[in-house]
């Protein structure tokens, strides 16, 4: 299986690559449009700040490439947020697969949310064999409000969409590559789609 991990300078691509190795797959870190288009599965990681990340994607001409993908693609953390229409972070415009506005957590809670939180209302093949309320590792200051695309929910002061799906586009706010065996199962499920 050809797995492309999109490299645009903002992702912790190494962690994703190592996680794939642990479950017996090899990923290819790439920013090459052809390699991404021809992959069987695409992983779109990301940590950092939204407006500078989207700028890097534009600089590498990857926005259109991502929009036109037909194979399963998994956005992780900032990668998921960038698949949405816009973000309050740096007033960034996203890729726009999901018609969603990413918002900042209120100061009623500590920001960033950092650590393990449970996921529930699981509604996707991505969560095959995963029980409700398993814990996943999250590090983020911005979130996707609950919406029609929600396939998993988490509560941090407010209930929000911790995973979303539309057609072949999947996004997870948590880090499956850093969430123990449960996270690795979710990655396997994605590769089995």
């Amino acid at each position: 299986m050809n797995i492309a991990i999109i490299d645009y300078g903002a992702g912790n691509v190494q962690s994703v690559l190592f996680a794939l190795e642990r479950i017996g797959f090899t990923g290819k870190v790439t920013s090459d449009a052809e390699e991404i288009k021809n992959a069987d599965k695409v992983i779109f990681p990301g940590v950092g700040e939204a407006s500078s990340a989207i700028k890097m994607l534009h600089d590498k001409d990857l926005v259109k490439v991502i929009l036109q993908l037909k194979q399963p693609i998994l956005g992780i953390c900032l990668g998921m947020q960038l698949l949405c229409k816009s973000s309050e972070e740096g007033n960034a415009n996203g890729i726009g697969v999901f018609d969603l506005e990413i918002k900042r957590f209120s100061n009623q809670v500590k920001v960033p949310q950092m650590g393990w939180n449970n996921i529930y209302n699981l509604k996707s093949q991505l969560f095959d064999g995963i029980s409700e309320n398993e814990f996943m590792y999250l590090v983020h200051s911005y979130y996707a409000p609950l919406n029609a695309y929600s396939i998993a929910t988490t509560n941090y002061g407010i209930e929000y969409a911790t995973a979303i799906q539309k057609d072949n586009f999947y996004g997870v706010q948590f880090h499956p590559e850093k969430s123990g065996n449960v996270g690795e199962q979710i990655l396997k499920n994605f590769l089995n789609l």
């Binding site: 393990w116 449970n118 590090v139 590559e177 850093k178």
Partner: protein
Amino acid sequence: MLTKRIIPCLDIKNGRTVKGVNFVGLRDAGDPVELAKKYSLEGADELVFLDISATEERRKTLIPLVKEVAKAVNIPFTVGGGIASIEDVELLLKNGADKVSINSSAVKNPSLINELAAKFGSQCIVVAIDAKKVNAEWMVHLVGGKQPTSINLFDWAKEAEQRGAGEILFTSMNNDGTNDGFANDALAKLSDLVNIPIIASGGAGTKEHFLDTFIRGKADAALAASVFHFDEIQIPTLKKYLKTNNILMRL
């Protein structure tokens, strides 16, 4: 709901764990990768590696180690010790570290926090603070606690937050190594003062100390070394105990 975190800390020198580790059943108790795997399997929520090698040795040994750990372990880990530049952080993250912890270098050059947060995001910048209570005031100390400063702990923590730190790791030097419990009054004050997570460090001796620091100390995470390394407290037992006492835990 977000759980509290239990974080074992490994001191690393020349690619090996130091401070003594006392485990039955490990092939090599000095091997940080073996230890990291063991803690990860036992349910540790994160790991912290603190490199205390001299600069030259650190360059040679730390990066390969970070890479080995990142390959072997499926939970987040933080690397600290001697980090002073964007290049240092870039190299660690590229090799699989999830977060970095900066201490003396941030005190000497506070704008380093801003630069790192802007470049890599606040989520991966932990500001570690060693402080000691001197004449009823908590003062920041440098170089592993050896060098006193005239900086107040709470002022510095607030400044670190404003400059973009994603988390504060506070070690009380009065408590460190005592096994008498964490510095809960100072921790609670810190937790009320800043709106980023606080990791409590220094003083863990019993399961009750962890419970105390989560309740009285309002800590978001608790870090310890020797009680785990010497098998005095087992992580699964600790986490079950805390959960029984109504602390949110990932089991």
